[in-house]
Symmetry: C2
């Protein structure tokens, strides 16, 4: 719906009406008008306020209808109660877009919710692209459209530049705009999204990605309201190499909703965001410093080609600090090739160690040309993807050092990054800026940003090279899975018993143990005979989800007598644990043999991003250590493999202490299958968990040990 | 030795000789002279250089002896080869202190090492306090002693202030001095320690702690050369409440030396530093930003009284960011009391949520007094230890906001911290500075620093309230422990067998399983009968340290036949695994019953800090997850308890999923005992590891499952 609207009218209006404008330009309702005048918007400006006949030297109109010409954009600062009517008037006048700055809508609840619904109805009826309400408006820098009361504009108009900034906060992003001007970071769009009742964060993201002049997107996000569309745009940003740098807050909230499965309660909302960001190469800024640091690297015309960095430092100490932080940020500090070392020996002072980081030593104070010579040699080394400088105070030589770097950058295609503490004079920084060299003052911040940027490039390469996987087709409703789901629904239940959940997974192609449901002790003995060897026995009930705690599980039951005894005990324990539990019978299954690992694989429906697969080591690991990883479905086998390797205890799955490696490939396939199942039956399955999944040694596959499922 | 020297002569010289001074003041050897003159040192200045008769208008002397008056301090910039002789001349002249700026000593190896030894001999013989060599010298701000070529002095003399800065880097710390001047951070001492051949980092630390005008110590450290003395000074700093803020680099180096025990190879050098810092309340700065951030809080006259913070923010977004980072930094954001909320309701705009963080909303732009009223109410709340502001651009109201804060601070004893983004004009910052209010621009940096400062306060409180524990007395050499150690030494071995290691631990008061060493199968059967019930059997050999891998362990051996069979197999496997292994026999022990957890407790001698106790969950946990904690000995039971709670998997030791809680008290006592053992027999025991230690349920104690020990 929203995308069909003419979002262009928002950013390229030929005329603008300021409805509810105040003659007091210090007021929120007077500030947009002042900015439109002060910063030289070239279109027509129509103040609308029945109390005035003239504002700021321009004729003021009593209402929209009174305006003689056409109006493209309305900037509305009226009380909330007047807004829906005004949007309808906009429709009548042919206005195509509106920035509703007024607050008092859904954010205040009650009557505000109703007003917002009315606003949406009017906007939809007339096809008006609405920014807001309850926002700080927007700024489109090239055409000086200042539909905002943004305090960040008080100190001056933004520098033009490649940044599109989309924010779910008004105040903080205004301060960011002000700070960006101080730092010389140029903007094209500045958008405060407000309640997003018509246009969403994702809609703006879609729009700015269409703009070839946009080179990077900065964002402040609290919540992506349309997860799937957001992911699609993030993917497009990655493909276009327009880095999407988002400060996403709200990590500390207890985001996980109450849930019966372990994995459901494990992965909080922020874990899911983190997974979505990481899958789509979104650069997550942890704070305001990092937002600017990442922007500094993202706006550069060059990208790191790999993770291998050589540091040239005027201080040994700074070099060590940079190696520490760089290593933690995923960068590598390889040795230089023998040829490079040979060449450096001819240049460097006799006692300089040709290491990485390399200390150019205090000699550089007397001979600043050392840096230039060393950099040239180092950049020719095939082991070096990126050269990072650390410079400090070199009396009288700052301009020379910066000019040398500018020269060097012209003679290489590799990325060169400068850290310089304290930052030199502005005219020296300008030399670096003109040469397109990203520079930082605090050296570890430069390394951290470079680490994230290198990770971005690696993700981009992986995503671009990924073979598109055809979506798993949805089976017909009369398929086995459909029948099982129907069967549970017909009984008016949402929780599935272990037998049902295993049946579902078996129908979906997963391996489950041989066995069956016994309704009498004799049936159990007969089943055990048929299986041969020791068996596992468990109560089967949709009301006993955590069977071990209930004491209704017996393992390694060996013969007819043991089966009989176990059957009786299980029935007794089940009713002792929960007298109201419906007992379908006792599940009798083969014992899984072999040197398996116990794994949890679960999937739950995230309200923003749909099905999310969780993976962790089973038993106490996942609960006591919270060692797990999540990924939104659908997953490719390759992605599943990456997720598996992310957990801290991954080593437990590898050949370790004379144990054979686990069948990680089969595990990865099951993660994909479970994700597909929850995606295809999204409207039916609420959550599903295999716990444990027995992962056998390499080549031997996996078997579902136990499973639970909850339907919607 | 070094402490007997007159370090005061270094910092309070009445006269200074600049030996090797250059007439070119841009040169390293000319710069100290220039600074002494330029910045107004009040004592006598004697240039010494045979090539000149006059430098900078002062008579220049051919050598020290030619100087007519007394000389307290020599600043030496001669080539390394001339330095030892010059130090001897200093001795002859009665010079009490020297700053040896020259390099070419131990840091270059070979001849340099010899020259440094000569230097030390001369200094020791004449009792000269030497700073350096291979350093950038030092600055004592109050008396304008500028015995340094520090480029940080080029831009101006440091502001006087409470900071003592001690650095193992020359260049970087000069830049820090320059940056500190820009930020208005005042210094008293600035010391570059160099090779520390006479005076060490710890010596300077001792000295500056004696100075009542020093309020905090900043440091850059690569290596504490005298761990025990360093810890003692750090403790003194904590007691005096002079925060010790150290940027310690070198995390990424593979610091752990090769070692036979698991715990030995687990804990790298940096883990030990981290433990020492944490035990002694040393504030570790992760980077240069944090060094300044922590200094900003440390120099304030108030400390956080607890971890409970209320945030008042002009931006909801910034508030969430601050809560995220604050929570991660150990701060708490409690709810306000009902009385406070009631009072706030009368002040705040109707729709403002009275939460923590609290968004004062855009209303504050129109009514900046909102902040003042809200702050007064919040500070009266007993749930609030510290109030943190986030402010942004409030047109026309910055001075008013700052003055309000200054007023509020005068009316409370609680700490008030301000974050303000972007930072307001310098004159507004000055209002905060004058009121002693710490302020930050990036809000999450302010929170992180406050979190560390609150942790510092908690550590300080704990350390001050700790009952001094009398040191465990060293038993006589003829004690059981001494005899066991002697027995191994006499045999020319360093590795102890399990039987010996257990004997050692038993003699030290630890519980070990009942049992004994069988040298024949018959002996094994007899031992097993005596124990009663199933037994554990293992090869006993000093050459088989990892017995499970060697296949020489049998558990739950039930009767005479099984014992016989197990004995034969163990003997066979032992010689198959290592044909040269000396086999003392087979250890036959009771099986430990009960619901125990397997734990690793180890201790090894760290070259800097002496015995370090490592603790981790046994089995795959410690190896695959690297989940462990370390602490230098001696430990109090209270410290051991804290260490135990530090591991990620601590929950496994608590009552968890129907298991009883483990006997953490007994575990803590064993950690103390093991630390004491390694401390008292520091000259004999190199490393010792109990793996597993069986920790029984609460009140039931612990039993040593297996142990290994290596002597020096």
């Amino acid at each position: 719906m929203a995308k069909a609207l003419d979002i262009n009218a928002l950013f390229h209006p030929r005329s603008v009406a300021l409805i509810g404008v105040s003659a007091d330009f210090t007021k929120l309702s007077g500030r947009p008008f002042r900015f439109f005048r002060e910063y030289g918007y070239a279109g027509k400006i129509y103040p609308v306020n029945p109390k005035h006949s003239e504002i700021g030297g321009l004729p003021c109109f009593a209402n929209l209808a009174a305006i003689p010409g056409e109006v493209d954009l309305a900037v509305i600062t009226l009380p909330a109660s007047a807004v829906p009517r005004t949007i309808a008037e906009c429709g009548a006048k042919g206005v195509k877009a509106a920035a509703v700055i007024s607050s008092g809508f859904a954010e205040v609840g009650g009557e505000g919710i109703r007003l917002q619904e009315e606003l949406v109805r009017a906007a939809t009826e007339h096809g008006i692209a609405v920014c807001g309400p309850n926002c700080s408006g927007f700024v489109y820098v090239p055409e000086r459209v200042t539909a905002s009361f943004n305090v960040g504009l008080d100190g001056g108009f933004p520098h033009p530049g490649p940044v599109a900034f989309i924010s779910q906060s008004g105040a903080l992003s205004a301060y960011i705009l002000a700070e960006a001007r101080e730092r010389g970071l140029g903007f094209r769009y500045w958008i405060s999204t407000g309640n997003e009742c018509v246009l969403s964060f994702t809609d703006y993201l879609h729009h700015v990605l269409e703009d070839p002049q946009v080179g990077l997107i900065l964002g402040y996000m609290e919540d992506a309201r349309d997860g799937e569309a957001f992911q699609a745009e993030a993917h497009r940003a990655l493909v276009l190499d327009k880095p999407l740098i988002i400060m996403k807050v709200g990590r500390s909230e207890a985001g996980a909703k109450a849930s019966v499965s372990h994995t459901g309660s494990l992965a909080g909302a922020d874990d899911v965001y983190q997974a979505v960001f990481s899958q789509n190469g979104i650069l997550r800024a942890e704070n305001l410093d990092e937002l600017f640091d990442l922007a500094m690297l993202a706006k550069a015309s060059r990208r790191p080609r790999g993770k291998r960095v050589q540091v040239l430092s005027i201080s040994g100490a700074a070099g060590i600090l940079m190696a520490d932080v760089g290593s933690e940020s995923g960068l590598e500090f390889p040795e230089l090739t023998p040829a490079t070392k040979e060449a450096l020996k001819k240049i460097m002072p006799p006692f300089a160690a040709l290491t990485n980081p390399m200390d150019v030593t205090a000699q550089a104070v007397a001979r600043p040309s050392l840096f230039r010579s060393a950099a040239e040699v180092v950049l020719a080394d095939p082991n070096v993807d990126t050269l990072v400088y650390f410079l400090g105070i070199v009396p009288g030589a700052h301009e020379r050092l910066a000019s040398d770097i500018a020269d060097i950058v012209r003679s290489t295609h590799k990325l060169v990054v400068v850290t310089w503490f304290p930052l030199p004079a502005p005219e020296v920084c300008d030399i670096l800026t003109r040469a397109g060299v990203p520079f930082f003052s605090e050296p570890s911040r430069g390394m951290r940003a470079l680490g994230k940027m290198s990770q971005y490039m690696a993700t981009r390469e992986r995503v671009l090279s990924r073979q598109p996987q055809p979506p798993t087709p949805k089976p017909a409703p009369e398929s086995e899975v459909g029948k099982i789901l129907d069967h549970v629904r017909i009984q008016g239940r949402t929780a599935m018993s272990e037998v049902e959940a295993k049946g579902l997974l078996k129908a979906w192609g997963l391996a489950v143990p041989r066995g069956g449901l016994a309704r009498t002790s004799a049936e159990a003995q007969s089943l055990a005979r048929g299986i041969g060897g020791p068996v596992a026995m468990k109560a089967s009930s949709p009301d006993l989800l955590h069977k071990t705690e209930a004491g209704v599980v017996r393992l390694g039951v060996k013969n007819a007598q043991e089966v009989e005894k176990a059957y009786a005990e299980i029935v007794e324990k089940a009713s002792a644990w929960n007298p109201d539990a419906r007992l379908d019978g006792v599940l009798v299954e083969e014992m899984i043999a072999g040197d398996f690992r116990e794994i949890i694989v679960g999937v739950r429906q995230d309200q923003r991003f749909g099905p999310v697969v969780t993976f962790g080591l089973g038993g106490i690991f996942v609960e006591a250590l919270r060692d797990f990883a999540v990924c939104p479905a659908p997953l490719t086998v390759e992605q599943a493999r990456e997720i598996i390797q992310k957990i801290r205890g991954y080593r437990i799955l590898t050949a370790f202490r004379s144990r054979p490696a686990a069948d990680v490939e089969a595990l990865a396939r099951v993660m994909c299958q479970v994700g597909d199942l929850a995606l295809i039956w999204q409207d039916r399955i609420s959550e599903l968990e295999i716990n444990p999944l027995f992962v056998l040694p390499e080549g031997s596959g996996v078997v579902v040990g136990d499973a639970l499922a909850v339907l919607r």
